[in-house]
């Protein structure tokens, strides 16, 4: 059974055809990477997969809970870390007890528990990125879509990130990582190169 099926996705901005019949599919526990130069259409493809943008043609089928970590840290500058977990838990439909357990676990794992009462405006870029990622993981997704997820991470957090993704894969989660640069290709089941609007 496929967790994600992307069929013939095309998208153009004016005369600029960014995506041309992009197709791929992902099974549970798989880890795929998509690399490409700046402006190659990686983030456009992800935004179409998560439903933020509409494609000009093609079809997306996804099953199970979706976790999405956008490239920009999309957080409310005036809310605290704890308040973000509460707000997004309401979106996911997570109960209070489960929320406490999961948010504590994520904050401890990625070492930002000491900032839980801090407003986002007062946090460093790296800590904001940890929360950005933690929000995507909060509801234990079955399909995780990550856009440049380790931007701003220190080495220790980078390693922890990969350990965590391995745990998720063991639990059946399919992970799609989009980045402009992949150093450790051996971690991935498959790495696509997005070039001239097509996956190669």
């Amino acid at each position: 059974m496929m967790v994600l099926k992307v069929e013939n996705i095309a998208k153009a901005f004016g005369k600029n055809k960014v995506l041309k019949n992009v197709s791929f599919e992902m099974k549970p526990s798989s880890l795929y990477g998509i690399v490409g130069e700046n402006g190659s259409g990686k983030s456009t493809l992800l935004k179409i997969i998560v439903g933020e943008w509409k494609s000009d043609s093609g079809k997306i089928s996804a099953t199970g809970r979706l976790g999405y970590c956008p490239q920009q840290t999309l957080l409310f500058s005036q809310l605290t870390v704890d308040e973000h977990f509460r707000y997004f838990a309401a979106a996911y439909g997570i109960e209070k007890e489960t929320l406490i357990t999961r948010s504590e676990s994520l904050m401890n794992y990625f070492s930002f528990k000491k900032y839980q009462k801090e407003k986002i405006a007062n946090l460093s870029g790296g800590t904001q990125q940890k929360l950005n990622l933690a929000i995507a993981l909060l509801h234990q997704p079955k399909l995780l879509i990550l856009d440049e997820p380790y931007n701003g991470f220190d080495w220790d957090t980078y390693l922890r990130f990969w350990n965590y993704t391995q745990q998720l894969r063991d639990e059946g989660c399919a992970i799609l990582v989009v980045t402009h640069f992949i150093t450790e290709k051996e971690r991935f089941d498959k790495v696509y190169n997005l070039e001239e609007g097509q996956l190669k």
Binding site: F76, Q78, A91, I135
Partner: protein
């Protein structure tokens, strides 16, 4: 639609609003400055004027200062609510989008924003009425508060509409200031209106009915029911448009 999501949304929106110092300062200081300037500068000469929304042809005789104070309380109420409404839907809109991707329905977010706006409308109306009570004896205080709430509702929904339509912050503020300045801040002034060459246009502007209802409540014993009804209708029109545009922009596209 889940009530829990709406309540969580409302509580977070209120926290975000009151943690922005500039909003607190605007809400508390601006009306005080507006009314104090009017109190210090407006002439005290008495003049008769006619209220357009009343069917009967009767003239009200009040001092220019008192009329100006009532008029500027309406203006400041509408202007402030409109700016806050714009801020609610426009600021950090991308994060709201992320909430929708994570499971919020766009209407749940908009209802949370609307509830936050209603609380602010009540706060601003009561606060401005308290301030103006120091300067002007208001004949029907609850109805006057309602008049200020009505301008807050109409202009608040206008702010929501502009915030839903326009992405740029500066452009959004420009549209708010433009209408608030011309309509609520100038054309609806009873003194200007009474002498206007063509008052048909003025009657179709958003601040017309709310300002009429506030002035009727402040100075007369007549009923402002008509003005209240049409003002509510005007605000509802803005609200429906804002709802549709907000939903279209925020929904998941699959």
């Amino acid at each position: 639609m889940r009530t829990k999501r709406i309540i969580t949304g409302l509580s977070m929106i209120m926290k975000m609003l009151f943690r922005r110092r500039i909003i607190l300062i605007a809400l508390v200081v601006l009306p005080l400055v507006f009314l104090t300037v009017v109190e210090l500068t407006a002439p005290t000469r008495y003049i008769p004027f006619r209220l357009a929304s009343l069917d009967i042809k009767m003239f009200i005789r009040e001092s220019l200062k008192q009329i100006a104070l009532v008029f500027f309380s309406v203006t400041s109420s509408g202007f402030l609510v409109s700016l806050v409404a714009l801020n609610l839907v426009q600021i950090e809109n991308d994060v709201n989008r992320r909430l929708v991707i994570c499971g919020y329905h766009p209407f749940e977010l908009l209802i949370s924003n609307l509830l936050a706006l209603l609380l602010l409308i009540v706060f601003i109306a009561v606060y401005i009425t308290m301030l103006i009570s120091f300067f002007v004896p208001i004949k029907h205080l609850p109805l006057f508060i309602f008049g200020l709430m009505l301008i807050g509702f109409v202009y608040g929904c206008y702010g929501l509409l502009i915030g839903s339509m326009i992405k740029g912050k500066l452009e959004g503020v420009f549209f708010i200031v433009l209408l608030a300045n011309i309509d609520a801040g100038w054309l609806q002034n009873p003194m200007y209106y009474a002498e206007a060459h063509n008052n048909i246009i003025i009657r179709y502007l958003p601040a017309y009915f709310p300002s009429q209802s506030a002035v009727i409540a402040a100075f007369t014993d007549y009923s402002g029911a008509n003005a209240i009804f049409y003002g509510t209708l005007y605000g509802a029109g803005f609200l429906i448009l804002a709802l549709l545009i907000f939903y279209k922009k925020m929904r998941i596209k699959k």
